[in-house]
């Protein structure tokens, strides 16, 4: 998978997580049985998506589809930082 596609996918999932969190907030605002149900279901979706995204990001890093921003693990004089 290319860098651009990976980054687009990551951003899309982050947006989906924020939407799920937003629906949870609407449930909290509404209150009552219906609001409580909506909040709980939204938060379950948010947790599931978050864990999936974390695993995907780590896997993408492992596969080399994306590179960490912080590449300089040795002293600056020993290793040239990779420009993104």
């Amino acid at each position: 998978m290319g860098v651009f596609m990976t980054e687009v996918l990551v951003v899309l999932v982050i947006l989906a997580i924020m939407v799920a969190l937003g629906f949870g907030l609407l449930g909290l605002l509404k209150g009552g049985k219906a609001g409580s149900d909506r909040m709980f279901k939204s938060l379950v979706i948010r947790v599931s998506l978050s864990i999936a995204l974390f695993l995907f990001v780590m896997f993408s890093g492992y596969m080399g589809w994306i590179q960490s921003n912080i590449v300089m693990l040795d002293a600056p004089t020993k290793q040239t930082p990779v420009q993104k």
Binding site: E7, V10, V11, I14, I17, M18, L21, G24, L25, L28, L29, K30, G31, K33, S36, M39, F40, L43, V44, R46, V47, S50, I51, L53, F54, V57, M58, G61, I66, S68, N69, I70, V71, M72, L73, D74, A75, P76, P81, Q83, K84
Partner: protein, 295 residues
Amino acid sequence: MSKEQAYYVPHGTYWPIIGSIGIAMLFVGFANQMHGVEWGGSVMALGFAITVFMMFGWFGQVVNESISGIYNSQVDRSFRWGMSWFIFSEVMFFAAFFGALFYARQLSVPWLGGADNNIYTPELWNGFKTGWDAVAFTTPGTTLQSGVEMSVPTQLVNTWGLPALNTLLLLLSGVTLTFAHHALRAGHRNQIIGWLVATIALGVAFLGFQIMEYGHAYHDGLKLTSGIYGSTFYLLTGFHGFHVTVGVIMLTVILYRIQKGHFTADNHFGFEGVAWYWHFVDVVWLGLFIFVYWL
């Protein structure tokens, strides 16, 4: 008068004025402390103590009023709206910080390097080089405008180490909190306590590792004076760490209230508010991990 119109208003409450005095003393003391005024630290400490006293007293009073059953559905709605506006301010808070990260990384730092036909800074300041891992491009011994020598780290935190572990811990705390939430809705009190204790433990572990990461980073020279990267890194992760600390305190209070039997399967706004806050702090960290360390 219908029940809906009988809005509960506590009469003669003294907590707002105590809170105002405490917070004012906290800030006046802090500002004077920063300017090296002798009494600044003492006034700040006293202001902090008064603020904590106010929070214990006021929140405790609200909890007692809630369990005594004098609140109606209108008060419940006002709590929910209050929580929502608080969350809105938090979202704006972090949006500004993430905005600062994107602006510095995508716009202002490249501009300083001559991008988009701006003035090419090396012509203004001999030897100037740019790059987001700004620390790598900084010449040791550079003095900032404030006269402070710029700190240049010898190495940076490994993304695959503590940051990844901390992300995993915080995400797992979201899972354990969801199990606690489910147990509360199902009325299984012992399970709620177990899952909440696990959530708090994971939050505390996160904070412990964060302190460890700060220790490593600081020791290696990554400080607030390490250019825009250093200041943005500490601003974002520091404020997030503060929010996790507040979240852990809130979850501990909720654990105490569950042990006291304050919540039922149908009526547990206090738990819901704190749970949502924790999920929010969790998502902010995931965003930090991805945008600071990866994208």
